[in-house]
Symmetry: C2
Subunit: 157 residues, 2 copies
Amino acid sequence: MIMRQFIAMFTPRPIGYVHSPYSETSQVPRGLDAKHDAEGELEILSEFEAGLTDIEGLSHLIVLWVFDRSEGFELMGKPPCDDRPHGVFATRSPRRPNPIALTVVELLSREGNKLRVRGVDMLDGTPILDIKPYLSNVPEEKLRRGWLAEAESRKAQ
Amino acid sequence: MIMRQFIAMFTPRPIGYVHSPYSETSQVPRGLDAKHDAEGELEILSEFEAGLTDIEGLSHLIVLWVFDRSEGFELMGKPPCDDRPHGVFATRSPRRPNPIALTVVELLSREGNKLRVRGVDMLDGTPILDIKPYLSNVPEEKLRRGWLAEAESRKAQ
């Protein structure tokens, strides 16, 4: 094990905020059949607006954001789509050692520092950490979804 | 704009470190034809090992990590695969307001707190922030890659 105890970490800061139709966790669709078609807006702070240059050409974006209304973490937990517990790194649980979330959204349009997007599952006012281009898929024939596929097939029975 | 000035952020901490064949940025394949077939290991701190439960069933993982050898950020920059500058949020540049990186890796095997993976593009000793299951793709027919597709077609001419 390489010990890099004095590693350079960083201080997270919001680059903007999400405008979402959801104000409470209970309103966000969860579970196996959940569809995330909700539209919302990513409002980027004006000091970072230049960083959006050429983003209009991308159809999909990876949004990293903070689970800011979640506290602490648990290493094992039951996701809403299964009745069995799994390790936190095999799930999308908000209760993670670093409470960073990831959502892939479809970019509908841009107006200055505002991105209109489809597929939000964040709460209104959620701080955004980063936006990255979604550029490639894992080949479908190579993708295995482990416990989630098992939960789906149990549910289908 | 919702002003949530006193928002709860968090203090990032490593959940583990990457063992990679690369010790210098110049060794990591970059650019349009770059292949990321390198194997490496994600060594998770033993205090977080329980969080890996059931991860073996997943073929691909999303790894969030820190660009710990990068300093500061620039809102516009030229990626290695293009001769034109783009906004940082439309590229994978390491010089971002929050220096968080994302790599999708293929999980080859697990031994306790160590994950053997293919597709590392991190430097040896890189701190890991989070691991998430890769569960779904964007439909290929809906994916547009903007400036990257343009750079590829200019190169092909």
